[in-house]
C-alpha cells in the first residue's frame, strides 16, 4: 500500500492511499490545486471525510465535482454540496462497504463534531489493512492485526501544561484539547492495546504546532512498534 500525506495540521488535512489499483483521498481540507500537484483527480476513486470541521472538509464541495464523497450522516448534515448532492454516500458505523478495491469499515471517534468517523480499510489486492483515525481523544474500538496505522498524535501533556501555566494557551483551548484531540499518552496506550504483529508503517498525523515535539513523538512510537514511523508534514 502506498500512503502519501499531502497536508496534516489544523489548517488542512489530505492524504492519498493507493493499493496499485484504487486510489482514495482521505479528507478534503486542502485546496484542489495542492492535491493536483500529486495526482490527476480523475484517477482518484473516492474521498472519505472523517468530520465536518474546516481543516478536514472545507473543500469537500470542490472535490465532489470530481469524485464521490463518503462520510457519516451527521457530517453530511453539516456540509453543503449544492448541485453535487448526488456524490454523497453515507457510511454506517460498523458496516462493511466496498469502494473500488478497498473494503471499508467506519467506526465512531470521539471529537467535538456531529458524527465523527475513523476508517478501517483493507485492500483486496494486497490484503493489507490500514487504520485511519484523526481528531479523536481516544479510540473506543480495538482492531484486528493492522499493516498500516495513520493516527493522530496531537500534543504532549507536559508541553501543553507548561504552555498553559505560562499563559501561552488560553483556558478555552486548553480545555478543548483534552476533549477533542489525542495526546501522546493516549496514542501510546492505543498502540499497546492493539495487535501490532503485522505492522509495517506508522504515520503520525495532526501534530500540534507548538504543543508537540516531533522527534520525541517519533522516537516514543518507534520504541513501542519497532517499525518505521513517519510524521506527516504540515
Amino acid at each position: 500500500m502506498d500512503i502519501t500525506p499531502i497536508a496534516s495540521s489544523s489548517s488542512g488535512n489530505a492524504y492519498l492511499i493507493s493499493d496499485g489499483v484504487t486510489i482514495l483521498l482521505l479528507e478534503a481540507g486542502v485546496k484542489l490545486g495542492k492535491i493536483q500537484e500529486k495526482i490527476d483527480l480523475t484517477s482518484v476513486r473516492a474521498c472519505l471525510i472523517t468530520h465536518e470541521h474546516g481543516d478536514h472538509a472545507k473543500h469537500a464541495k470542490d472535490i465532489a465535482k470530481w469524485m464521490p464523497i463518503y462520510s457519516s450522516k451527521g457530517t453530511f448534515d453539516c456540509l453543503d454540496f449544492g448541485v453535487y448532492n448526488y456524490q454523497k454516500n453515507i457510511l454506517k458505523a460498523g458496516k462493511e462497504d466496498l469502494i473500488g478495491t478497498f473494503k471499508v469499515i467506519a467506526f465512531k471517534t470521539q471529537h467535538d463534531a456531529k458524527e465523527p468517523y475513523g476508517y478501517l480499510l483493507k485492500s483486496i489486492i494486497t490484503n493489507e489493512t490500514l487504520l485511519f483515525a484523526t481528531d479523536t481523544y481516544y479510540i473506543n474500538n480495538t482492531f484486528d492485526a493492522l499493516d498500516y496505522i495513520m493516527i493522530e498524535c496531537n500534543y504532549d501533556e507536559a508541553i501543553l501544561k507548561r504552555r498553559y501555566t505560562n499563559g501561552e494557551v488560553s483556558k478555552l483551548q486548553y480545555k478543548r484539547l483534552y476533549n477533542s484531540h489525542m495526546s501522546l499518552d493516549s496514542c501510546v496506550k492505543f498502540f499497546k492495546a492493539n495487535d501490532l504483529s503485522r505492522l509495517k508503517e506508522v504515520y503520525l498525523m495532526h501534530l500540534s504546532d507548538k504543543n508537540s515535539n516531533e522527534q520525541d513523538f517519533k522516537r516514543k512510537i518507534q520504541e513501542i512498534t519497532g517499525c518505521m514511523v513517519y510524521v506527516c508534514p504540515k
Binding site: T4, G100, I105, I139, F143, Y178, G226, Y230, V231
Partner: protein, 314 residues
C-alpha cells in the same frame, strides 16, 4: 514561480496579522487615551486587551448575511469603531454581552440584553440588577407616579391560582438607583408590539417562553431609559460583573480530570473491528492500474529525512 507564490502567500499572512495588530492596537490605545484623559473609567477588572482578543476570535467566525467573513467585507474603520463601542461600555462578546453585525460594509456593535444589564450595574447608585415581575390576569395592583413621574407599582397582590392559569397581563421592572426606585410598567399589548418591531426575534421562543421574554422586554425598556439618559460621567463604572474571569466559568482541572477518566474508562475497550473472514461477494469492477502518485521533491525529502534520522530510537 514556486518561490513567487510562496512570497505572495507570506505577504498575505503578514498582512492579516498586521491588520489585526493595527486595529487591536489602535482601539486599545484609544481606550487607554480616554482613560488617561479621565473621560473613561473602566472597571479595574475589565481588561480591554482580553475583550478585544475575544472579540477578534468571534469576528474571525462572524459572517455577513451573504456568508462572507465580516473581516473581509467590512471597512477597517467600522471594525475599529465597533470594537471601540464595545470597549467603552466595558463589555465582552464572550459573555454574550453583545454581537457584531454587518450592515453592508459597516460593522456595528449591538449590545445584547445581558450587556445592557451589565452596563446598568456599572452606573453610579445602582448596586443590584433590575428585577422584573410578571402580572397575571386577576392580580391586584396599585399604580402610582413617582417623583420622577414614572409609573410605579407599589402594591401587587397575586394568587397562586392566577399564576397557574398562566394568562399574562403585563410586566414591570424596578431597580434601585440611590434612594430612588426607577421603574417601567408595560401591558402585554405593549410588550407584543415591541416584539413586532424586531423581525429578527425568533417568534417560536417568544411563544414557548413568553413569561421570560416579557421580563426581558420590560427590563430592556427600563435599562434603555436609564442608560441612554445618563450623563457620561455615570458611565464611568464603579462596578462591573464581579470578575473578568467568570465567563471562563469552567474549572479546567475538573474538565481535564473528567476527560482523563473517560479515556481511562473507554479507550481501547470497545468491540473489535475487523473484516469478515470470508470475503463477501462484490459486483465485479473493471480493474485498471492506478497511476503512480507523484512524489514531489518535498515529500521525498521528508521520507529521506525520516530514514537518515540520527536517532532512530529503537
Amino acid at each position: 514561480m514556486e518561490n513567487q507564490k510562496q512570497e505572495v502567500k507570506k505577504q498575505e499572512i503578514t498582512k492579516v496579522i498586521e491588520f489585526e495588530k493595527n486595529i487591536s492596537d489602535s482601539v486599545t490605545n484609544r481606550v487607554n487615551q480616554l482613560s488617561k484623559d479621565g473621560r473613561l473609567n473602566l472597571p479595574a477588572n475589565y481588561s480591554v486587551g482580553n475583550a478585544i482578543t475575544s472579540a477578534w476570535l468571534i469576528l474571525q467566525q462572524t459572517k455577513d448575511k451573504n456568508g462572507r467573513p465580516v473581516l473581509e467585507v467590512c471597512t477597517k474603520d467600522s471594525i475599529a469603531n465597533s470594537l471601540l463601542d464595545m470597549a467603552v461600555m466595558g463589555l465582552n462578546p464572550a459573555k454574550k454581552q453583545g454581537y457584531f453585525i454587518a450592515y453592508g460594509n459597516q460593522l456595528s456593535w449591538f449590545t445584547s440584553y445581558f450587556g445592557k444589564c451589565a452596563v446598568v450595574k456599572r452606573l453610579k447608585g445602582i448596586d443590584y440588577e433590575p428585577i422584573a415581575t410578571i402580572i397575571y390576569e386577576g392580580d391586584e395592583l396599585e399604580l402610582v407616579h413617582t417623583e420622577l413621574n414614572e409609573e410605579l407599582v407599589i402594591n401587587h397582590t397575586t394568587k397562586w391560582q392566577n399564576k397557574l392559569n398562566g394568562v399574562i397581563a403585563g410586566a414591570y421592572a424596578t431597580v434601585k438607583q440611590g434612594e430612588v426606585i426607577r421603574s417601567a410598567v408595560m401591558t402585554l399589548k405593549e410588550i407584543k408590539e415591541a416584539w413586532l418591531k424586531n423581525p429578527s426575534l425568533t417568534k417560536r421562543d417568544h411563544v414557548d417562553f413568553e413569561g421570560e421574554f416579557c421580563k426581558r422586554t420590560v427590563i430592556n425598556r427600563l435599562v434603555k431609559m436609564i442608560v441612554q439618559t445618563s450623563n457620561d460621567d455615570d458611565l464611568l463604572a464603579e462596578k462591573m460583573i464581579e470578575n473578568e474571569d467568570q465567563h471562563y466559568d469552567f474549572d479546567e482541572t475538573e474538565v481535564v480530570e473528567e476527560a482523563k477518566k473517560e479515556i481511562e474508562l473507554n479507550a481501547n475497550k470497545g468491540e473489535k473491528v475487523g473484516f469478515a473472514k470470508e470475503a463477501p461477494t462484490y459486483e465485479s469492477e473493471i480493474v485498471v492500474d492506478a497511476p503512480p502518485i507523484k512524489q514531489t521533491a518535498s515529500s521525498e525529502d521528508y521520507k529521506q529525512l525520516s530514514i537518515d534520522d540520527d536517532n532512530p530510537g529503537y
